[in-house]
Symmetry: C2
Subunit: 182 residues, 2 copies
DNA sequence: CCCGCCTGTTTAGCATCATGGACAACAGGG
DNA sequence: CCCTGTTGTCCATGATGCTAAACAGGCGGG
């Protein structure tokens, strides 16, 4: 029962939306090697595997720590939030299903057309949030979705991400992140 | 600047007090391979590395997560304890320097010659303690030392360990562990 | 001393990995 | 349709990991 390096790598590559050739180019290896590794037809040397992961980038520790079976949920519909408040106080928990969360809070507001920048952000930690007003386009790795009021998100900040207000009115988000990057 | 797999493996082997040949036998590889890996003269395939670590045993994730530069202090002299109490209450903290501790308390007493068993203990979590009276021989991995009143210890319980009263009088220890094994 | 047993290191040779390039399949545009 | 680009897979060859066995040094006992 050996480690499924192939599946792990294929998963990582899928998350980041890279082709075998693109990853190979970034890592400085051949596309054939990526293919062979993903099919488990070779057991790469740790040197090679590190070169490949450097192209993502991702550390060997992260790679082997990766929980492959539980590809964590990224997007949450309005009804997928868990109400943990009571009475006058309504606390609707995002990513309540996800174990070992670690975060803190922000209230963001985006003018029409505004974005977090032309390039995607990447930093340590995790972040999540809820759209309060307006419509925001959120891109996380290879996935992208426009979220409206009541919808939410939660993902690892190490995955490249970008926010952009695609509506005509201001957009407000209640967001949280840890450890604090600002 | 690649990962120093060699040093990591050598460190792991030292902690568990295994020779290259002994580890090789348990892992089902040759002693020569262990030698070559530790000298960084080869970059082992993840398959081989996994086989080697299975002989410890240790997961690939643990191996790459290992904090190699900070080999945590195991033994503490009488004057290496940190006083955090005040007034009539004296709380002298063990391993105060160590970040991210996680534990709870016990008061142990060993009769002359008593020990925790013929085989070394291994379990999850961390444990530490202080000798109050008598003399106790503590073996942790490859290291061993006789501790007297005022001296202390703190280590990860995953390292094989054993207590034995080598004195003529009863021995008392204030110990702590987490998560609770008893 | 010599012997046996341990330690880690080295080397020749074989097995496996990694490369560079060819290949088929698929998609979008002219 | 062709053309051009993409995708992933496959193959021959050179590079490298891995094994088996020999080697050198250390340590204790006869």
């Amino acid at each position: 029962m050996s480690i499924d390096v192939g599946a792990r790598l294929r998963g990582v590559r899928a998350i980041y939306g890279l082709s075998q050739r693109e990853l190979a180019r970034r890592a400085g290896v051949t596309n054939g090697l990526i293919s062979l590794i993903e099919q488990n037809r070779v057991s790469p040397s740790v040197g090679s595997l590190k070169k490949v992961l450097d192209g993502v980038p991702m550390s060997l520790a992260e790679f082997f720590t990766l929980d492959i079976e539980a590809a964590p949920q990224v997007f949450y519909g309005d009804d997928e939030l868990v109400e943990i408040g009571s009475g006058d106080v309504s606390l609707r928990l995002v990513a309540a299903q996800r174990a070992a969360r670690q975060l803190s809070i922000l209230h963001e507001r985006y003018a029409p057309g505004a974005a977090t920048g032309d390039d995607a952000l990447t930093h340590r930690g995790e972040e999540g949030g809820v759209v309060v007003r307006g419509r925001i386009e959120l891109t996380v790795g290879a996935g992208s979705r426009v979220l409206g009021p009541g919808e939410a998100y939660y993902f690892s900040s190490t995955i490249p991400h970008r926010f952009r207000n695609v509506g005509r009115e201001p957009c407000e988000i209640i967001s949280a992140s840890a450890p604090p990057t600002f």
